[in-house]
Assembly symmetry: C2
Homo-oligomer: 464 residues x 2
Amino acid sequence: MKTRKFEKKNYVKELVALMRSTLPEKELAKRIDNYHYNDIAEALTCLTENERKHIYRILGAKHVAEIFTYIDDIEKYFNELTLEKAVKVISLMDSDDAVDLIESLDENKREKILKHLDENLKEDVQKIMSYSEDEIGSRITTNYICIHNHLTIGEATKELLKQAGDNDNISTIYVVDDNEKYFGAIDLKDMILARKDDKLIEIISQSYPYLLEHDLIDECMDKIVEYSEDSIPVLKITGEIVGVITSDDIVELVDDEMGEDYAKLGGLTAEEDLKEPVIESSKKRLPWLIILLFLGMAVSSVVGMFESVVAVLPIVICFQSLVLDMAGNVGTQSLAVTIRVLMDEQLTGKQKLTLLVKEVRVGLLNGSILGIMSLAFLGIYIHVFKHYAWGSAFLISACVGVSLLVAMVISSIVGTAIPMIFHKIKIDPAVASGPLITTVNDLVAVVTYYGLALIFLINIFNLV
Amino acid sequence: MKTRKFEKKNYVKELVALMRSTLPEKELAKRIDNYHYNDIAEALTCLTENERKHIYRILGAKHVAEIFTYIDDIEKYFNELTLEKAVKVISLMDSDDAVDLIESLDENKREKILKHLDENLKEDVQKIMSYSEDEIGSRITTNYICIHNHLTIGEATKELLKQAGDNDNISTIYVVDDNEKYFGAIDLKDMILARKDDKLIEIISQSYPYLLEHDLIDECMDKIVEYSEDSIPVLKITGEIVGVITSDDIVELVDDEMGEDYAKLGGLTAEEDLKEPVIESSKKRLPWLIILLFLGMAVSSVVGMFESVVAVLPIVICFQSLVLDMAGNVGTQSLAVTIRVLMDEQLTGKQKLTLLVKEVRVGLLNGSILGIMSLAFLGIYIHVFKHYAWGSAFLISACVGVSLLVAMVISSIVGTAIPMIFHKIKIDPAVASGPLITTVNDLVAVVTYYGLALIFLINIFNLV
């Protein structure tokens, strides 16, 4: 037997070469089948359309269905199939994957496919498509194993073997009662390890978690992740199982949530897609920008109050952006830390206070360090490039340094307290905090900086 | 049989009441056992220390071990166990959970526990602890099922049943050759459905994906998520299996990555913990702040060049923060969209260009809308509150509006191009892009705004 090396192998490259080879079809199909569907999917995207059509034909509908679930912009490849094969492929997919695919097709093609699907699948697909996008029902698959609670272990095992052929998600077996209402779940492992004369009821977990079909994804994400099960059943309010959420879906959900949060932190109202028209993207971004514009105008009018300071001592405007930006940066850091903590844990009032105190202390420490650095560097800069005397130069840089320190401490407080308040009144802190914090910090920084300049530089030291 | 209602049930509340009841111990243990470990864990955290100690005693080590894997700040509860029970509990955990727990203990307790562990587990734990935190090896569990490739289906099934008792992760069975090198994987479903006289080799997937122990988590995350398997084996470079990554770990990894990205976008070098000392938090935040301080100084010196404009026309400083902030906001939006796209997909050069063009068009559209709004509102504001004539007021507000448009378009380009360049040269765009983009945008906005003010307001229209 030859020794294998466990370096990274490029399965995709191997596959592309294989797919382009002139091997007899049967041999080719068998060889391709040795690879992982994900790699086959990636290899397919490297071929030309004609080469792909050849491979679709060789592989058969079941394999094509599996491969297609690993492709991202699937509709392009799906449209390369004949209608007959397309229908077959969809019929062989898990129902949630089928729905994703059908939803990505244009209306014309969608109608055609739906017309040809068998009644059972059509019903499942239409059911899943009927949920709104933020309901957990829109993410379910109907491929799961379900048995009755009055079976013996032997009968249950037989039923499992019968249903396993058509269903991929077998690691948890769902149990219903005589009225077809959800009764509990069995870990496949317990089923395998059970003896023939054990009672089925003893291995059924009757407090296994479940979701309701109209539950909002946002609200049940934490619960889903916490239970860390391979799959969770989704019920009607009357107790019938409508489908299950699998661990695959859970990873996808977490990933999607991440995208949403990213988008929110960036000031978008929803996640964007690469292929989305400009108008759509513009609409998602404009609401925040308009709010920010008006908040910016408010800041402008406060800056306007200090016009007289600038008129007599124009050098102070050089450092306005520095003080404002640094206050903003510190506020963003506190915001990021606070939001993350709020997402992860249920904080008591005391813990919230601890967090706030900690943020203030971090702000004080970093503010002092940066304040002293500004004092030193800017003093030299003002003397050398702006030709002020050493004394005046350091008075001005001291004013910047002190403003930095004060603004950073206040920004830390604002960046921690505002998301907590939003969280408390049940507004998503990731959406609403950003602009409000920026504005409050800008205002604080402007007033501190120009205020200090007015008092110290102009009124006390008469630097004009 | 009574009908069950499928409203939300508060299992935790039920459990707390149950745990505080005066039921006989055996009955109590049996009743508690009916609930999900996650709910039991949550209920335990609601009890007093003495109540908990009572429950630990009743439940036995195996159950306590399972429950503890669902608790967040586990060390507190773990320290409530007697040393003997603590060792037993750790011995019964999956090795990755055991490592997490041991790492959270203080040194003294850790030594004590390690001394009492049995040799096999101690070896596993020390192995896992030896990996650095960013290596995939640090996340493995050694609880998996492994068989030899020369077995018959019957022998393999027997081996599976034998090993299943001690191992939770049974949905994929790993296969090694006679030299104990990784050979492939079997889907449990295929094993269940196989007939006695099938050949084992036919159900082994020899191209099942694997990772190497020193692979960096950052770099293999995408691969792990894409393959969407229940577990993936982790090998030594020589081919021996050292452990597996389970779907549970995958969800956790995705969640952690999210935290990291959140932290990076907020300008922290790493994710922070609630209980971390101030000095540690300060250290994580200071590097970016210092970089930003110096970049801010660079912007300041550019603003300084326009001191003369401000000296003769102080009103322009009112809107500096507005133009700079809006440019920054647009840049952040483009950045968030671009980073998300880069994370999710492999873009071709042509797709990158498409994205860039789209961002420019969105910038142009939104910039025009906001520019016109500024023109209108600020013109009125300047006339009413600053007592400029209508003509001059609208000249100034037009200057702000045009600057906004120009700055927003350029910010869109910068916010899209810079993360792409960082991605290309393999620097994490989420870390490095933010400050650079802010600075470039600030510079562009300052030069555009004051430049336009100098040319139009002062040189052409002599507004002074």
